[in-house]
């Protein structure tokens, strides 16, 4: 089958095909889902090597669940994000050895930098600020505002209500705004 022909096929259908031994489906799912998993993992963990391990682990779990997958029961991405979220949580807990929901202080105010930050530097600043958010807020903010997932799907991933997702993202954004306030000039937003 031409590879392009699979572009229109849903994740669920591809997963069922993979469960039946379809190698084209495996390739399509690898290329389609690995970047999503990797992006979410690296933002959650802030470490590329660890994020790669989590990505491989999550995809392996996906391959293993495929033969038992029944279409219509769940969205593949919802299931996958939940697996990634749990794997990241386990790693963060092992690494820190403390409760993650303890709110930490925002990043220190840094001296003003004359030059505007490049886009890459803005991204780095955001990622640093994300790392100090409580874990649930970080998950919700990343899924909603960077991965672009809808609130109901995030609710399914996190196993909470849509209202709780809205609350988490709102608190997360407020915390990020406060954390980055001292760097607004550095971020190129000027000093209002």
């Amino acid at each position: 089958m031409p590879f392009d022909a699979l572009n229109e096929v849903s994740d669920e259908a591809l997963l069922v095909a993979f469960g039946n031994g379809d190698r084209d489906a495996a390739r399509a799912l690898t290329l389609r889902l690995t970047p999503k998993v990797m992006g979410f993992s690296v933002r959650m963990l802030g470490d590329v090597a660890e994020a790669e391990d989590v990505t491989q682990d999550a995809m392996l779990r996906l391959w293993r669940v495929a033969p038992k997958w029944r279409q219509g029961e769940a969205k593949v991405t919802t299931w996958l994000y939940r697996v990634v979220m749990n794997l990241c949580t386990d790693r963060l807990r092992r690494k820190r050895g403390v409760a993650l929901d303890a709110i930490e202080e925002p990043v220190d105010e840094t001296p003003g930098v004359e030059a505007k930050m490049t886009a890459a530097e803005r991204v780095r600043a955001l990622e640093e600020a994300l790392q100090v958010l409580p874990e649930r807020q970080r998950q919700a903010v990343i899924l909603r505002h960077i991965e672009g997932i809808s609130n109901p799907e995030i609710a399914a991933v996190m196993d909470i209500s849509t209202e709780a997702v809205e609350s988490l993202t709102a608190r997360g954004k407020r915390a990020l705004s406060a954390a980055l306030a001292g760097r607004r000039e550095e971020l190129g937003f000027g000093d209002d």
Binding site: F18, G19, W63, V123, R174, G182
Partner: protein
């Protein structure tokens, strides 16, 4: 220390947008690792499936020599049922012919006679 002003909604959105555009791509090594796992799972499922799917009928077919034998057996069975049910004229005629009637069969003698031994001498 001057008062800090929190980022506005639009400023935060600009950061999110920059982050979304800069989504880290998986390395080719990672893609190879993921693909290798997928390949291994396909192989595992292929090995596990025949053992799990080999039911009584599949084992019977295997025992009698595979599907060609089973097909021949099925054809013979169907033909036998059809002959028994429809009783084609040719079969009926053959069965009713002189060769297979009881009276004629009584007269047929395939073994040598020992009558000659009962005579004198």
């Amino acid at each position: 220390m001057t008062d800090r002003i929190d980022l506005q909604e639009s400023e935060l959105d600009a950061l999110f947008s920059a982050a979304a555009d800069a989504t880290p791509l998986p390395s080719s090594t990672l893609l190879e690792r993921v693909s290798a796992d997928a390949e291994a799972e396909i192989a595992n499922v292929a090995v596990a499936r025949p053992a799990r799917g080999a039911g009584l009928f599949a084992r019977f077919v295997s025992l009698i020599g595979g599907w060609p034998t089973a097909a021949g057996l099925a054809t013979a069975t169907v033909a036998g049922i059809w002959i028994g049910y429809a009783v084609p004229e040719t079969v009926d005629g053959l069965a009713g012919s002189a060769w297979f009637t009881g009276s004629n069969l009584d007269m047929v003698e395939f073994t040598a006679s020992f009558d000659s031994l009962l005579g004198e001498g």
